[in-house]
Amino acid sequence: MSDFPQPQIGSDDPVDLVAFDDALPIVFGFLMRRCGHRDLAEELTSATFVSAVANRPGHSWAAPWLITIARNKLIDHWRREARAETATERLQKSRPQTTTMFVEERLEVAAVLGRLSADHQMILALRHIDDMTVPQCAEHVGRSVQATESLLRRAQETFRTEWNHRRTEAE
């Protein structure tokens, strides 16, 4: 893993274009961090580039523009999941995944995030990773600000429980 320049959303400065080989790990890192599932992150990364080429068929793109596409793909995924998830599926999802062995803490955090319900993943990623305000989150989540605050509190509590559970297991 390596650091990459933070997207300056809303900046008027010219943005450097990034070719496929350099853009791929940026988009994949962004998605992996938020969903915690390698297969899903790969699938959404592919979907991001397919959309990018459909809109701008060149060989390079602005990284912030790609990240915006990736975020929209992820939000669409979470919304579909939130509609489809049943209580049973959530229970199964919350079990530790033995197939994925994350070494670095960043990916460990992502793995914990990936066990939560789609709604909880979405609100935590938007609020704490993307650093959006609650009203901004509410727009993406499609709920009132008050309902979003409530969702956020529940999501934080679930994340803490899952994180502590994982730490206990590790010890």
Partner: protein, 176 residues
């Protein structure tokens, strides 16, 4: 309220290596997608193929007046005549060649009327017309406002008739 575990969610973005085989597959898929997109775009585009008396000079003219880009190297005969050249002006493609009477490819004569005229959208019609005039074009009609655009007409040194057209700049201040 946040505690240490929630704080772990924040921090700078980091890139992450994508599986190489999956990356190769995706790269191949995107190339196919680009080809399909290009093919469908070309299928709906009419490309003017201009015949001119001096293709080398004509290329220089279109580069200086329209900011055209020469795509690849022109094809030439042994005696230096250009059989095919491709220019790109913005998203517009233009082909051109020297005169080949044996292939019935003749150029318009400045003394006769032309059957086909070329309208081209540019950023600033006034500037393009001035550049054309400075490069030897004959101004047929000066730039004027018409139907929400600014447009003029000129005949280039090779007999082709052009109308650079741009959006009319709104007048600042009181609307009259």
């Amino acid at each position: 309220m946040t505690d240490d575990s929630i704080a772990k969610l924040s921090g700078p973005e980091q890139s992450l290596e994508f599986d190489k085989a999956a990356a190769d597959q995706l790269r191949h898929r995107l190339e196919l997608q680009r080809l399909t997109t290009a093919a469908s775009t070309e299928a709906t585009q009419v490309i003017p193929y201009l015949t001119v008396a001096n293709a080398t000079r004509a290329i220089e003219f279109y580069v200086s007046v329209f900011g055209a880009t020469l795509i690849g190297e022109p094809f030439e005969t042994d005696d230096g005549k250009i059989t095919h050249a491709e220019l790109r002006i913005g998203s517009v493609t233009l082909y051109l060649s020297d005169i080949f009477l044996e292939a019935t490819a003749s150029s318009p004569d400045a003394t006769t009327n032309t059957a086909v005229s070329l309208v081209i959208h540019v950023a600033d019609a006034d500037l393009t017309m001035a550049a054309a005039q400075a490069s030897g074009a004959v101004i047929e009609r000066a730039v004027q406002d018409q139907w929400g655009t600014r447009a003029g007409w000129f005949v280039d040194p090779f007999g082709h008739r052009w109308s650079p057209t741009s959006h009319r700049t709104p007048t600042k201040g009181t609307f009259q």
